[in-house]
Symmetry: D3
Subunit: 150 residues, 6 copies
Amino acid sequence: MSATTSAQPAAERPASERSSSERKEPTYLFTEKHVAEKSEIARKFLDSRERLNANVDKANNFLVKRFYNVDHNTYLEGSLPAKTKELMGLVASTCLRCDDCIFYHAIQAYRLGVSRGEQEESLNVALIVGGSIVVPHLRRAYELLEEMYS
Amino acid sequence: MSATTSAQPAAERPASERSSSERKEPTYLFTEKHVAEKSEIARKFLDSRERLNANVDKANNFLVKRFYNVDHNTYLEGSLPAKTKELMGLVASTCLRCDDCIFYHAIQAYRLGVSRGEQEESLNVALIVGGSIVVPHLRRAYELLEEMYS
Amino acid sequence: MSATTSAQPAAERPASERSSSERKEPTYLFTEKHVAEKSEIARKFLDSRERLNANVDKANNFLVKRFYNVDHNTYLEGSLPAKTKELMGLVASTCLRCDDCIFYHAIQAYRLGVSRGEQEESLNVALIVGGSIVVPHLRRAYELLEEMYS
Amino acid sequence: MSATTSAQPAAERPASERSSSERKEPTYLFTEKHVAEKSEIARKFLDSRERLNANVDKANNFLVKRFYNVDHNTYLEGSLPAKTKELMGLVASTCLRCDDCIFYHAIQAYRLGVSRGEQEESLNVALIVGGSIVVPHLRRAYELLEEMYS
Amino acid sequence: MSATTSAQPAAERPASERSSSERKEPTYLFTEKHVAEKSEIARKFLDSRERLNANVDKANNFLVKRFYNVDHNTYLEGSLPAKTKELMGLVASTCLRCDDCIFYHAIQAYRLGVSRGEQEESLNVALIVGGSIVVPHLRRAYELLEEMYS
Amino acid sequence: MSATTSAQPAAERPASERSSSERKEPTYLFTEKHVAEKSEIARKFLDSRERLNANVDKANNFLVKRFYNVDHNTYLEGSLPAKTKELMGLVASTCLRCDDCIFYHAIQAYRLGVSRGEQEESLNVALIVGGSIVVPHLRRAYELLEEMYS
């Protein structure tokens, strides 16, 4: 992100005033550790993800690293808030039926301060678009929501 | 929707203050007719959709009508703004690679005042989650965006 | 379901003589409990499903309840027998590769008196349409069939 | 199909009395030509399919021929009637969202004497399992049904 | 790409002797223009792709450009020859059922000197893995092969 | 495979000189037992697969056996080497996100002498085509690669 002469830094201006090429790291209200302490499902998922990612990192595959980098950049604050994009990641993951991806985005959204109601409405979009084949994943997502939001 | 003593009607309060069971029709800035006049792609899609839906309506299938009803309710103003949910519908449709569905949600989002930058960021989430198999649909989506936003 | 002057109630007439708007609960030959006693796989699935659904029910999400309702109505006796529609649910679940959904519909079909041969022929349709990516799910389905039908 | 000493030939006994290894060609009530005359959509699909298949046949690829052969055998009369299996093919095709496959199985089912109500109920299973992403395909399926059954 | 003392440049050594971080542009035997002259299907696809990509390029979306860049790098000569990776792209595209992607990779493979037999065997892998839902795409792929290889 | 007057048997000629109808069993450098001893993940997968397949074999379903036979024939040495086709199976399985299928083809490729770099490049094709939804499967694939190749 290049320097800017704006008195107000990009990060502090509302998303709607930032151009699509301005991106910044979002501010998390909670750490992964905090979520892992609240939810057993989150803890198991985060531990397993960390262990397996260490193995991928060790392989040091150039294209995997490039892909991970573009992936990371996709969810930064931009024209849309990071919150919204994590919920979009949740919708996409639920439609495409990947439990690990659902857990990841629901945890990220939680860490950014998304409410349970907002998570449920996102899952509703995924349910109607994706159909009843999505239901077993919805059940597991609700179990995680229950643990995180109680 | 339970009665409320609030002086300010549900519709006018911000989404974050509405409970998930309160839903209302969103306010469109533009009619379908307006979009059809700006974009040839939109016009063709809307005409074909109207013609084919007339045929489905004529069949009067009870369960199809029930499904359409739940579908309609999913995108109303609720805990999340209708705008966000139409963009989530766009992400889901792009990941699942359905041109008709992409056109539908991109048009709906446009009618609700979503900016081109917001549409592009939504498509970026779908692209990274769904991969290069999404690219041909992305190209056709950009063609529609170009026509609607110019 | 509108009143009918027919001497014979809708439920007792053959499916082919009922209109598509007439729907009725099917008659199960076996309870879920019976199946759970015959098959360990069925028991684990039914227990987990019950536990997770209790959690979803507790959330009391309006649209989830509406969706579940339409889903329930889809598999009632209608123009097609409930048996056939459960087997169609099995085919769809196998093609879309969801083990939980496969177990659910295979159990439902069993409870309605479907034979093992009929279950296998349904899985064959899913196998040829869906390809070898379906095979791991087919193997798990056969394990359930083995337990239920022995 | 091994010889049988049964007085009544396999073909004439009800499906439920045939073993799963007994298969026979179904009896079509209508020719493809007849359907092509009733429905413009069917005619275009059947013509295009015939032209493209001629090209595949010319290539004479051993494994494609073997695959086509297993595919053909899957839909013969067996433990389940051919009618039911064509409708299962329709459900699978609709869930997996392939218009050509939908048209193929809806036409086959029509040729075997399936009623419009039975076709609609099959599509309802696909709609609830597959979700709203299926809707554009449902619309095109209803257009074909309208032409074939009017 | 780290410095190497090898007298023979990376590009000229066989793939098996290159490390996975060494990548180079493949050598095409034929231009897109050549393929477009041989095949009407290829010509229409390439023209449409060029026109739509121009539109995407104009939007100049940072993340789309990054994604396209990683995508381009994936198919360069590396541990595996470019030829093999284009055929893998063909298999993936056929399994995931995207005609545009199938045409793209089949044309790329042709341009790199892949034989018709090799293209057909790749399609066979996609057919068995993906099932009969792949058949309509197989038919269209064979039409392109027929035009390119005759 | 028809008789041939060639002094050199089909099996020993390079793939590029064999016609697509000539197929032969590939030569494995390692047995399944060897891989199971190196890798705990492989061992668990192979044991479970063997146990479940025994159950499918016992059912003796004619069409399943036919399908398995065509499947087996697809990966024999032909116009393309068996190695390449196992890697194509790996790409397809990764795109379609089936862990069992990924494990199967990665093990087969290993047994045929494929290098780790070649496996990783195949996974890269699947990652870019299939998107980030593929990542959890990629992580599990890397864990298997780590065990097999160390």
